[in-house]
Amino acid sequence: MGYPHDLLAFARQISELHPTVAHQPSLRRAISTAYYALFHLLIADAVAYCGDPQLANALSRIFEHGGMKSASDTKVSEINGLFDPKPPGEPERTVMYHLHNVAETFGQAQNNRLDADYNLAREWQPNQVSLLVEGIESAFKSWGIIRNEQAAKDYLLSMLPTRERKQPQSPKPGKAPKKPKPRPSLGTP
């Protein structure tokens, strides 16, 4: 099963610790844990094609929450466009349906996770959290169905940090741009 599935099962357990009371610490942990389960599921598959465990571990650490969210939002919008006005034929329709479920759930789950972790003004209810965890369980099932499809691999690829995202911000008006630090090179003594 692996770590993501264990994490998701744990999120479900936490969400049911206090079924009749809106116990905020456990509900918040459940939301956060369920999000991280999906986060790690996608990353685990993205690096699964890398044969070397050490390299796979290093690669898994270059994924960023913001970049993955942005790629998911773009994918949802693309698929919405694909289905409007007429959905594609099979088997593409089924693949896109499940990919939409994963990408949309990821975006919503990340926003909920940030609220759960940092916005203490937002109150959560057991039914509400149970539904959110169920949504991520559904995304896991969808991913299991499409994970070997090219569209799913392209989605993972779109989550990789790009050069554009890594570029530093432009200097503030009136301030000189920072000099880049000299890079070490093999030719210098």
């Binding site: 919405n80 466009g81 975006g107 926003n111 209810q125 039914n127 009136g174």
Partner: protein, 115 residues
Amino acid sequence: MSLMRDNGLVYVARGFAQQQPFLTAIARIATGLPPQVLSVNPTLGNDWNGEPAVYFQIILSDNSVPRSELLAFTKQISQSIVQQLRPLEDWGLLPYFDFLTQSDAARMGHQPTLA
């Protein structure tokens, strides 16, 4: 004295600039949703990544949908709103959805309102 101006483009989402037509469009869509939907309450803001967003709080009447069908039902509602409203494509806002039962909403002090 030199005057420096920042003439960079400022992007304002259409949903922010034209709030009334946006809210009217939501209200029109809300009236066509299934009767189990008691309330659709949109709030404009920015999400955690700083992107312009619309947060929909949707209140469902208690026990009106079997628990085993609730997730599919909520997805059907959110998809129906997205398809009709096109919040990102037409209004520049990322949509977020939060579904609450009537009793949970009351416990949290939310009043049902149709956009």
